[in-house]
């Protein structure tokens, strides 16, 4: 088991290298650099800028720049935002955690809704309840996230006023107190629910299909022929086997969450990295965009890592070579 985990983490190293090269190239091909913004600034002539470029290493050969960039990254130096005039890391930190909370909440709610529905649909497939669940799936699949989120915001935020309509916590509350955390959760609920209600599609569909498939498997017949009652056949044999693809799906799910958060955070004015991403693109704050792409890439890699580790925990076949 541990061997597998270590090996799997080692695999991440080349993945990270490739990711970083891609992001670096992306950063290079983007128009302008950290100093372009100064060109038009009165009192700064172009030779000064050229000097600054040399001191900053922008005129070094590409591979030197890449290595310097990596060195910076490993020390937490993600560059400087020239819009905010602050280190990107500082800008990211608080927002990154907000996005992590939001994503975790969405993931939690998604599974909370999807797992019981998927199991019910699979177990009673072709029954009325199954048809209703599949119907719900079609509807959520066809609904665009931003329209749905706007609708939720309008109905539950503005009309009914059950939930706050923006921000991540009440600024009057002392950070670290119990009521501060409760308020954070309160702010999370509506965006998380909006995301989760649509994100259930994949999990429900996979779980349902997997259960229907597994029900037909020979080893289920074996269990039945032993005299195992039906409820136990589900809990001991069918469910565990049916959860495999859900675990495998987790990495993909996390990638989806990050993309989803771009819309959700903007609509709910939730200060996370998704919102920052959209802002930075429109303001051409490329050092921030680059850093965010890197962060998302790493999150995706971590997601697949988690998937694989969970899979190896449930499926003994994966642990061997």
């Amino acid at each position: 088991m541990w061997k597998f985990v270590v090996r799997r983490i080692l695999i991440m190293i080349p993945q990270l290298v490739v990711l970083s090269i891609l992001v670096f190239i992306l950063a290079k091909v983007m128009p302008g650099d950290a100093l372009s913004g100064l060109v038009e600034t009165p009192g700064v002539d172009s030779s000064t800028i050229e000097d600054m470029r040399t001191t900053l290493g922008i005129n070094d050969p590409v591979h030197v720049q890449y290595l310097n960039w990596i060195k910076g990254l490993s020390q937490g130096d993600l560059g400087t935002s020239y819009i905010h005039q602050r280190p990107v890391l500082e800008l990211l930190e608080a927002r990154l955690w907000n996005t992590v909370y939001l994503s975790a909440a969405i993931l939690f709610l998604t599974y909370l809704i999807a797992i019981p529905l998927g199991i019910t649909a699979g177990r009673f497939h072709d029954s009325l309840i199954d048809k209703l669940i599949v119907g719900y799936n079609y509807i959520t699949y066809a609904t665009p996230l931003f329209i749905f989120a706007l609708l939720m915001l309008f109905v539950f935020g503005f009309q009914l006023q059950w939930f706050p309509t923006g921000g991540s916590a009440d600024i009057n509350l002392e950070p670290g107190t119990f009521s501060y955390y409760m308020d954070k959760i309160y702010h999370l609920l509506l965006p998380a629910l909006s995301g989760a209600l649509l994100a259930t599609v994949g999990t429900i569909q996979y779980l349902r299909n997997e259960i229907i498939d597994t029900k037909m498997k020979d080893f289920i017949k074996t269990a039945k022929s032993k005299g195992v009652p039906e409820a136990k056949i589900y809990s001991h044999h069918i469910l565990r086997n049916s959860f495999l693809p859900i675990a495998a799906f987790l990495g993909y799910e996390i990638t989806g969450l990050i993309t989803g958060s771009i819309f959700l955070e903007s609509i709910f004015s939730y200060p996370g990295i998704g919102q920052l991403f959209l802002q930075s693109i429109s303001q051409r704050d490329f050092s921030v965009v680059t850093a965010l792409v890197m962060v998302t890439g790493v999150a995706t890699l971590i997601g697949t890592l988690l998937s694989d580790i969970i899979l190896s925990l449930v499926d003994p076949r994966i642990r061997v070579e």
Partner: protein, 346 residues
């Protein structure tokens, strides 16, 4: 064999499957007795209804897709009158099953020891430790080396032959009085087949279990079975003792099955091939003799339109009145000789 020795009595069993909102019988008014401590082989081509029969006995069919009528007497009760919950007390304890494909018959996520023990949880009051002890004993009985180690291994860590031994171990875990073995050796290669056959024979001898052996391999039949029942298109067409049957098969379909096997005596010759295939359930002609469309013509003057299963000599039943006139081209009188020779090359 007297009536007192009857363990299982199948009476007028009809099992129909739903195909497009209609039910078609895959077993049509079947009768068969299984005695204590005997091995009955059910043979026939693919699709003739052998598995449907085996599954009916244990109530393994999908309830909405299947209609079953008739009676299945087992130890004084009619299993067809049992509810699913009542059947769960019979399954695994009184009657158990061995499946064809050891690759798929085991749960890939459960150690094999637990799979062997599982039935005991529902049929015995043994403690957890006792169950484990018993499972290891059973692993020993099915000749698994290092049973303690194998106990906590997963199916994918074992070879095909070993896995089939596990499947057998599961079936015998609660010492049932009847085992339905549905093609227990078909998925294995020849040398392993032979060992599994030996194991089954030994277990049967020791545990005095009856076995319904479903197979289309007459070699396996001659090795193991006491009696044989030949099935065609959902009906038994011939039932008899294996020794006599192999020497003197009476039904044209039985003869065809035997003559279509390779043997020493027909080396280099073209094998007899039965023309056509078993019709599918919804295309089967159910009037008259079901084998007729696959015969090379019959002499109508001596031919009976709708033959029934008749006892032509003690314990030998045939569903064809004109078998005496029936002749197969290329047929050899090889069956008179040593039957072991006949089935070489199986």
């Amino acid at each position: 064999m007297s009536n007192d020795d009857i363990l299982l009595q199948v009476e007028d069993l009809t099992t129909s499957f739903r195909i497009d909102e209609q039910f078609y019988p895959a077993n049509d008014h079947i009768n068969l007795d299984v005695y204590e401590n005997e091995i009955v082989a059910i043979v026939g081509e693919s699709g003739c209804g052998k598995s449907a029969f085996g599954h009916s006995i244990m109530g393994m069919h999908h309830q909405e897709q299947t209609k079953i009528s008739g009676k299945i007497h087992f130890k004084g009760v009619d299993l067809l009158s049992y509810s699913n919950t009542q059947l769960n007390k019979v399954r695994g304890k009184e009657i158990s099953m061995i499946f064809q494909d050891p690759l798929t018959a085991l749960n890939p996520l459960m150690i094999v020891g637990k799979q062997i023990e599982e039935g005991m949880k529902y049929h015995t009051k043994l403690s957890k430790n006792k169950r484990k002890q018993k499972a290891i004993e059973i692993l020993n009985e099915v000749k698994i080396p290092q049973p303690e180690r194998v106990y906590s291994q997963y199916p994918h860590e074992l070879s095909g032959g070993m896995r089939q031994r596990i499947v057998i171990a599961i079936a015998i875990a609660c010492e049932p009085s009847l085992i339905i073995a549905d093609e227990p050796t078909t998925a294995l290669d020849v040398t392993i087949q032979a060992r599994i056959i030996d194991l089954l024979k030994e277990l049967k001898r020791r545990m005095k279990t009856s076995i319904i052996l479903i197979t289309h391999d007459l070699g396996v039949v001659s090795e193991m079975a006491d009696r044989i029942a030949v099935m065609y298109a959902g009906e038994f067409v011939e039932i008899g003792e294996v020794k006599r049957f192999l020497k003197n098969p009476l039904h044209p379909y039985s003869k065809s099955l035997l003559y279509s096997l390779p043997s020493k005596n027909n080396q280099g010759e073209k094998l007899h091939v039965i023309k056509g295939v078993v019709p599918s359930l919804n295309h089967l002609q159910r009037q008259g003799c079901r084998f007729k469309p696959r015969m090379n013509g019959t002499d109508d003057s001596i031919h009976e339109e709708t033959p029934t299963l008749r006892e032509v000599e003690k314990g030998h039943w045939v569903r064809c009145t004109c078998y005496k006139h029936f002749h197969i081209e290329n047929s050899h009188q090889v069956v008179e000789e040593e039957k072991d020779d006949v089935f070489q090359g199986q």
